[in-house]
Each structure stands twice: as structure tokens, then as C-alpha cells.
């Protein structure tokens, strides 16, 4: 039997879950290994323009040359922009409310994006924060080896 034009619209459910293994490259590996082994944040700087990048990368996009100079940055820095998040989302690293912040780490020239889990209501731009690392046994060379930044 031919179904009528006004047949209720059907839908199909589906999901795409695609496994990947992203190689993080030489610069990224040195950065993540420093988080894991030393609980230190490292960056690299351009010998031409002097800019200090974090996360470190292979080359300076401005001068278009390789970055060869490595620098140890402070684990503390200043918040330059932030948002307190109120909606929930399955990929959030913690429960809301928490904050995302761009942090100018001591010694760096660019903002480093991470989370402030506790007391987001006390956050404002220009406040000082410091990186809190997971325990050594739990650190795996991952951006969330830094568990959070904490207001100093």
C-alpha cells in the first residue's frame, strides 16, 4: 500500500566515533614530557622576533623560521581573558561552574588556554594564578596533567 503524503517524518539515529592517534611532533613531545616528568611548563622563542610561545611549536609563524631556543616558563601567570561557564557539556573536564582562562605565563608572550576549576566567581582579568599538577603517578604527558590553575 502506498503511504499518504502526510506520513509522519521518520528519523535515523547514529553516531560517529572515530579512533585517532595524533602524533604531537618533536616540540609538542618535549612540552608534554616536561609536564609529565618535571611538572614544569616550557616554551620556545624566536631568535628573530624574540616572541616566546607556549605551547611550543616547530616554527615562528610571523618570521617563518624554525624555533630553536627553549625556555623554562613560570608555572604562574596572569589572567588576560576568561569566561565562567554555566552550561554543561559532556566534554567539559569538570562540573560547572568553572572557568576557561587565557593565562600569560611568566616569561611567555602569548596566552595559554586552560581551566580554573575552583572559585570561578573570584576570577577576574589581571589576577595571578598558578598551575596545579596532578600527582606524578597520574601524569601521562597530557594537557590535563595540569589539573587546574588556582587563584593565588
Amino acid at each position: 500500500m502506498i503511504k499518504p503524503e502526510k506520513t509522519p517524518i521518520l528519523s535515523q539515529k547514529g553516531q560517529i566515533a572515530m579512533p585517532y592517534t595524533w602524533w604531537v611532533g618533536n616540540a609538542g613531545s618535549r612540552f608534554l614530557a616536561a609536564l609529565r616528568d618535571d611538572a614544569r611548563i616550557i616554551g620556545n622563542s624566536c631568535e628573530e622576533c624574540g616572541k616566546v610561545f607556549v605551547p611550543p611549536r616547530k616554527n615562528c609563524g610571523y618570521c617563518y623560521r624554525e624555533l630553536t631556543k627553549w625556555v623554562e616558563l613560570g608555572n604562574e601567570g596572569t589572567v588576560i581573558a576568561h569566561t565562567v561557564v554555566h552550561f554543561s557539556f559532556s566534554l567539559h573536564p569538570c562540573r560547572t561552574p568553572f572557568a576557561y582562562a587565557l593565562i600569560k605565563l611568566d616569561g611567555a608572550d602569548v596566552g595559554f588556554m586552560h581551566v580554573v576549576r575552583d572559585h570561578p566567581e573570584r576570577l577576574s582579568n589581571n589576577v595571578r594564578v598558578k598551575a596545579i599538577f596532578r600527582d606524578r603517578a597520574l601524569r601521562i604527558g597530557h594537557i590535563l596533567d595540569i589539573e587546574t590553575f588556582e587563584i593565588i
Binding site: 517524518i9 528519523s11 547514529g14 560517529i16 585517532y20 595524533w22 604531537v24 609538542g28 608534554l32 610561545f53 607556549v54 605551547p55 609563524g61 588576560i80 581573558a81 576568561h82 569566561t83 565562567v84 561557564v85 554555566h86 552550561f87 557539556f89 566534554l91 567539559h92 573536564p93 576557561y100 587565557l102 602569548v110 596566552g111 595559554f112 588556554m113 586552560h114 581551566v115 582579568n125 597530557h142 594537557i143 590535563l144
Partner: protein
């Protein structure tokens, strides 16, 4: 630049869930529509640019699934993954490169996927995606940075939402016309500070198409041609922390190039109407600054002074803008379509009287990482 023109436009209505039409159906509908509008047949079209996003459509090489719906059988068909303004830019380049006509068609159905997951996936998989950032939170960081730099208020952003949702009532295609007060916006649910629910555009389903033609084919079309006088796009850094989010650097460069191409030295005096990509309320003033209509930090003042109202010297988003209808990828093409309708004098109750020069604008990437600027004119 050779004389090239937009000779046809079509768009679907924008809705939260278009259940009775697939992506294929939407593309077919606007392709038929744009040919009818131009008074051309498929035989007059010698190449096609489709605009789609694989994550949005939930399939790889999503362009391949809509080529037939776009009339692409036996034709040269190419694709752009990005906002429709960028697809149209590629289409214009193809006409400048020797094709007679390009049909550009964009579609997306935000109702089918999970926008937060999709926009999370535009960020770096090692450093940023794992902290759960997506388009709304990233934009909230930009809004915070913009407010902090120039001492701007949330109320000044709320005013944009009030204006554009109100303008949406004049646009029969709009998804979400709303009668709001600043207080309504300020009291709406906090999403990611300083953004509240009514500072954010809705997620819409929809499709749109345009035909770009060379001078010869613009005479064959039945419509009044709308001439492309200046087009440019420019991109800035990928990592948000590398950028100065309070200033639209790449927009400044793109608009400068487009004005130069169009022979415009004082945009605020030369342009009659603007359709820009206001995915969030704060974007309208920030992009107005990047477009050189005012000094940095003075964008909100343009609305306070009434300049960007329908009745003002420089109406911005008389269609209701992206705040009223946001089909991703399609929304930039809709800005070009709205600008075209204004210059054809066919914008109905949202018509700006005697509009001769219009600007359309689209963005791609987080927080307007890249911008595409179009200067259009009713005069050759």
C-alpha cells in the same frame, strides 16, 4: 577587475528543525529557486561550488552527496568547507578565471548533529580540544577580552540582540524574530559569562544559493545584476592565545583590501547598508570596528547613536542578521543574498530606501579567525 555580478539568489526559510527535507532536498530546492530567480536554465551554468561541512553532515566528502541535487551531473563541481562567503569568493574567482557562470550552494542542518561537539572539534586535538572548549566558550572569552580592553558594558551588547531580533520581523525567512527589551536579554540564562542565552544566535537548518555571472551572462539573466566591486578575505592565528581577541585584525586587512578594490576611501559615507555575521551580540560592534566604520572600542556607540538602526545612516543587519537565523555555512551566503536583495530593491519590508552600495561579511574559524568581505553595487 572584470565586471562580474550576482544574477540570482535563493534561500529556504530558516527553522530549528526542517524534518521533511533532507540535505539533498534543501540543496535541490534552492538550486531550482536560484535558476528560477535568474531566469537561467541548468544549461547556462557551467560550474558549481557546493559548501558543506563533513562533521555537520555526519559523512566524509559531504559535497559528493549533494552534487546531483545542485544540478552537477556532467559539470565541473568543486567544494568549499567553510562559510558560504568563502564558497562565493571561490565562485567569483572561477568566473574571473574564465567560466561564464558559477552556481554556489550551501546547506546545513544544525538539528541533526551536536553543535558543541562539532565546534569542539575545530580546536587543536592535543592542547585545546581536551579541555572541552567549543564555539560558545571561546566566543565568551573574546567578548570578555573586548569588554575589558575598552570598558564596554553587557547592556551595550544586549542592545544589538534587541535590534536584530526586532529587525527579524521584517524578514520572512528569519528563524527567530523576537520582541525583546535590554532587560529581557540581561535576565536570560547565563551561558558563559558575559554571554547570556539571548546574546547567542539560534541553531538553524537551511540552505541558500547564488549565481555569479560574467558580463555577457549577466545580460542573459532576467534579474537586475548586482555588481561585485570588491572582495577580500584574510586569516589570523589559529591558537586563541596567540591572538589579540579584542581587535579584529584580519577583518581590518580584508576590509581594507575590499574597499581599495571598490575604490572606497570612506566606507561610512560610501556604504548604504551592511549585513554582517553576528553569531553573538558582541560581534556586531567588534566587526563594525574591524570594517573601519568607527574607531576601535567605539562599535557599541554606533547603535547607541542610532546609526545602525533601520532608520539610521548605516543600517546594520536589517534582515535580523545571524542572531535571528543561524544555519552554519549558509549564514554568510545569506548575508550576500540580503545585500543583493537590498540593491535590487526587492527586500520587502526590510528594504533600505535607495540602497546603492552594500557590504556583506562572513566569518570562519573560532572568534572570527578569518573574515570575508564583499562590496556590492547596483551600478556597474
Amino acid at each position: 577587475m572584470d565586471h562580474i555580478a550576482i544574477v540570482g539568489v535563493a534561500q529556504t526559510g530558516y527553522e530549528a528543525k526542517i524534518r521533511n527535507k533532507t540535505n539533498y532536498d534543501l540543496v535541490y530546492e534552492v538550486t531550482k529557486g536560484v535558476l528560477d530567480d535568474a531566469g537561467l536554465s541548468l544549461a547556462d551554468i557551467d560550474n558549481i561550488v557546493t559548501v558543506s561541512n563533513d562533521f555537520m553532515d555526519g559523512r566524509t566528502i559531504s559535497s559528493m552527496a549533494v552534487g546531483e541535487a545542485a544540478g552537477g551531473h556532467d559539470k565541473n563541481i568543486s567544494t568549499v568547507e567553510g562559510d558560504g562567503t568563502f564558497g562565493a569568493f571561490y565562485g567569483a574567482m572561477r568566473v574571473l578565471g574564465g567560466f561564464n557562470t558559477t552556481l554556489v550552494v550551501a546547506h546545513s542542518k544544525g538539528s541533526e548533529g551536536s553543535l558543541k561537539h562539532i565546534t569542539n572539534a575545530m580546536f587543536d586535538p592535543v592542547y585545546h580540544r581536551l579541555i572541552g572548549i567549543e564555539a560558545i566558550s571561546a566566543s565568551a572569552i573574546q567578548a570578555n577580552s573586548y569588554m575589558d580592553r575598552f570598558g564596554l558594558s553587557e547592556e551595550s551588547f544586549a542592545m544589538v540582540s534587541v535590534k536584530n531580533h526586532q529587525n527579524g520581523f521584517n524578514n520572512p525567512y528569519a528563524h527567530m524574530p523576537l520582541n525583546l527589551t535590554v532587560e529581557d536579554v540581561m535576565k536570560s540564562a547565563r551561558i558563559a559569562d558575559p554571554l547570556k542565552l539571548l546574546d547567542c544566535s539560534p541553531v538553524s537548518d537551511g540552505a541558500a544559493a547564488i549565481i555569479i555571472a560574467n558580463e555577457e551572462y549577466s545580460r542573459r539573466a532576467k534579474t537586475r545584476p548586482v555588481w561585485i566591486k570588491g572582495i577580500a578575505h584574510c586569516v589570523e592565528e589559529y591558537f586563541l592565545g596567540d591572538r589579540d581577541l579584542a581587535v579584529a585584525k584580519s577583518l581590518r586587512q580584508a576590509s581594507r583590501k575590499a574597499y581599495e578594490m571598490a575604490g572606497i576611501s570612506r566606507p561610512v559615507d560610501s556604504i548604504d547598508v551592511v549585513e554582517l555575521y553576528d553569531a553573538f551580540s558582541y560581534m556586531e560592534p567588534l566587526w563594525l570596528e574591524g570594517l573601519g566604520f568607527c574607531e576601535e572600542g567605539r562599535g557599541p556607540g554606533m547603535l547607541k547613536d542610532g546609526i545602525t538602526l533601520m532608520s539610521g545612516k548605516l543600517p546594520v543587519n536589517p534582515s535580523g542578521g545571524v542572531l535571528s537565523s543561524h544555519a552554519l555555512l549558509v549564514a554568510g551566503l545569506a548575508r550576500i543574498i540580503e545585500a543583493t536583495l537590498q540593491l535590487r530593491g526587492e527586500a520587502g519590508s526590510r528594504q533600505i530606501p535607495e540602497a546603492k552600495t552594500a557590504l556583506a561579511h562572513g566569518i570562519n574559524g573560532p572568534c572570527g579567525q578569518s573574515h570575508c568581505v564583499w562590496v556590492l553595487s547596483s551600478e556597474q
